[in-house]
């Protein structure tokens, strides 16, 4: 057991737990932040994507012990921001959402991309989302959503 101090969506937390537990489980089970999904449990699908200190990570691959002092942003946090709202709107207009299980993770990957590159090309958007799998959409409309968010949200990132 160890005490881990970190912030989630801007709120500080101190959690006493096994440092080897997955960030994914801390978020979903302890904090009931169920916008983070488990699709594969081995870092392949990206459904559990969060931002850790601004970097896109698969929370199923992150032991909570490595989060000491970190700032974590989950879909619940991002959706309240002006950038998150821009992505959500752009996804909706683009038809990017079907079953929705991958979509919160896609939103996180989109945010990570746009922070680094606010006006990506189609190819750059595809590359940035290549770690996030979707079985419903064939990806075209998700990529449209990323590009639309960048265009509509110009100046936000």
């Amino acid at each position: 057991m160890a005490t881990i101090n970190f912030s989630i969506n801007g709120t500080s937390h101190a959690i006493d737990t096994d440092p080897l537990r997955r960030l994914l489980d801390i978020l979903r089970e302890d904090l009931k932040l169920t916008g983070v999904k488990e699709g594969c449990g081995e870092g392949e699908c990206g459904a559990c994507s969060v931002l850790k200190d601004g970097v896109l990570v698969n929370s199923c691959m992150i032991p909570i012990g490595t989060c000491e002092g970190s700032e974590i942003i989950t879909p619940e946090g991002l959706r309240e921001t002006v950038q998150g709202k821009a992505i959500i709107d752009a996804y909706g207009e683009s038809g990017a959402v079907q079953c929705g299980f991958c979509t919160p993770g896609m939103m996180m990957a989109t945010e990570a991309l746009l922070r680094k590159n606010p006006s990506p090309s189609e190819g750059e958007a595809r590359e940035a989302l290549s770690g996030n799998l979707c079985r419903c959409t064939g990806y075209d409309m998700i990529i449209d959503g990323v590009l639309k968010a960048a265009e509509r949200g110009k100046g936000l990132w």
């Binding site: 979903r28 009931k32 169920t34 916008g35 983070v36 999904k37 488990e38 699709g39 594969c40 449990g41 081995e42 392949e44 699908c45 459904a47 989950t74 879909p75 619940e76 991002l78 959706r79 998150g84 992505i87 959500i88 996804y91 909706g92 207009e93 038809g95 990017a96 959402v97 079907q98 079953c99 929705g100 299980f101 991958c102 979509t103 919160p104 896609m106 939103m107 189609e122 958007a125 595809r126 590359e127 989302l129 290549s130 770690g131 996030n132 799998l133 979707c134 079985r135 419903c136 959409t137 064939g138 990806y139 075209d140 409309m141 998700i142 990529i143």
Partner: protein, 716 residues
Amino acid sequence: MNKKISTSIKRVDAGIKTGGAARYIGDIPFDGLLYGKIVRSSRARATIKSVSVPALPEGYYYIDAKDIPSGGRNRIEMIKDDWPVFADEQVRFIGETIGLLVGPDRKELNRLRDEVKVEYEDLTPVFSIEEAEALKGGPIHGEDNTYADYRLQKGDPDAAFAKAARVIEDTVRTGFQEHIYMEPQGVVARTEDDGKLGIFFSGQCPFYVRHAVSATMGVSEDQVRVQQAVTGGAFGGKEHYPDVISTPLAVAARKIGKPIGLFFDRVEDISFTPKRHPSVTHFKTALDEDGHILGMDIDVRIDAGAYESCSMVVLQRAIFSVNSVYNIPNVKIRGRAFATNNVPSDAYRGFGAPQGLFAMEAHMSHLARAINVDELKLKKQYLLKQGDVTITNGRIHEEVKLPEIIQRIDDMSGYSKKLKEHTPGLWKGIGISLFNHGSGFTGNGEQEIIKGVVKMRKRADGLVDLLVSNVEMGQGLQTTFRKIAAMVLELPVDSVIYNDPNTDLVPDSGPTCASRSIAVVGYLVQEAAKKLKDRWKESDIVEVRQQYEPPEGLVPWDQENLQGDAYPSYGWGANVIEVEVDPLTYEVTTKGIWAVHDVGVAIDEKVVEGQVDGGIIQALGYGSLEKLEVKEGRFQQKTMADYTIPTTMDFPKIKSALVDNPYEYGPFGAKGAGELVFDGAAAAFADAVQMAINGDVKQIPVTPEYIMEVREDGNN
């Protein structure tokens, strides 16, 4: 095109899903939830001699067939009931449910599961269609290992073969495919305050689950309440399998008296849940001296796995699809679904049609290569037309717009022009496929088995409840059903309330499968809305009911002999794929994807386009990347790292279009779309590759290893 209905609106569930607020089965809080862990067979075919369960800590339970209440049955009542809830003395596949461990801690459950010792007496297992046909180890099922053995005949094939100048034989194979719905299987069972058994699940068919659970528990169906949770993809994989896991869970929940959740992780899901049926199709085609097709003799065999579940219906759709969109004058077909000791095969988007269509499209392309004629020219000679006789001696009742579809896709893709530019064998190729897909249950299933009912209720507050059992699983039904009702009622879309179904609150409008939700149930929604509109002013609260009736003028269905109209209407389509093959590594790069479909009328263009995009990419995975091998009854790929589905980087943007062709008995003229859009891409891809490498491609997935085999064998 009916612009008003087809004009896209923002999906009603887009915002809640993107932001992560939608609650899937694993996101719903249940007080005091325990977890289940299935104890599975490690043998493919064996007799169970004994099961020894370790001493269980307090609060842990082991549940098996002995816990099924009296009056219940150790059978999962699906279309067939041969699959037991808990293995019945014998196990027939690796992963079969033997018992269920229940307790509060999942790690502890895993430890306990590893300590359950099962003593087996091994029998000789069967892992392929060939071994099943040879009755290796004695039959698993019946006397000949076939769950179904069908024969169809149209015209006079024997006379056709007697006249033949040449007979060409061809064998085409398709592999397993795993659904990879992004959300793995999950179900929760508990006893409700009113004493009913409550089942919460991720899946397609709430009334299937209610039926199966009530039969296992020996209670009437109204003693089971099934609530669908937001479902993270299904593709057929959550059509029957939820019955397989909700039945043992119900037994446990009733005995233990606490809510229990059964959630698969990805490895468990890939390893033990059903897959698309592998197939082997053998063609003998009789040609005259000028290369005209006189007749065909086709043998279709599918690997149905260890239990039948729905395999005979999958086989029906496979053999009804194995002439693709062609009117071949004289045909005989035999179709067999074989029992093996592999994981049971079951529903997967297309339900047998992708196998049949791939086989025929591949065969037509091989014929064209063999007699050295242009493939599309050959295909065009045999296109089905309105009034033509189908393989089940039914009729094509609708106008077939294939000529328009072909012209359109040729204009969009430059197929004919590129065909002349590329030289076969020089590593660039372009391929085409044609296909159709019957909407709704096969044969008389809609009127004899399903008998779907829709209700609609005007509420005192002026809103309208749409009461149906069909589910949103990603395909957009929450949006399209509301649009149909709202447009008829001339109300805003958000005035129509359509919740995820609860079997206590909605009538049984049937399962969410078979491209029936829009084509069949959507029509009932439209007709119910018309009734409600007529009666709108009667009272504050008005409820209407609409039951399915078959369209008029069909050729009656004879289920015994599989004769008549197998489907009242079809969607139609064409795909073109352009590829380049690396001459050293044989890796294939897809350079272009084009698609034209006739889905009648789109209820929402964006929703249909989303189905087209997703269906094609899933089919390209089937045709190229998704190799799933079974060895000794175990899938060799069991993670998402080694079973690879397409990513954003694998395929270019799809260019697609729709051809308008309103269907009289569809809502606003709509037909089914969800499966049609899967049906053609694998064949177009294989066709493109065979041009690039100048060798017949006879199986999918078309991997670099397979391409190497074709190259090394010459024209195999």
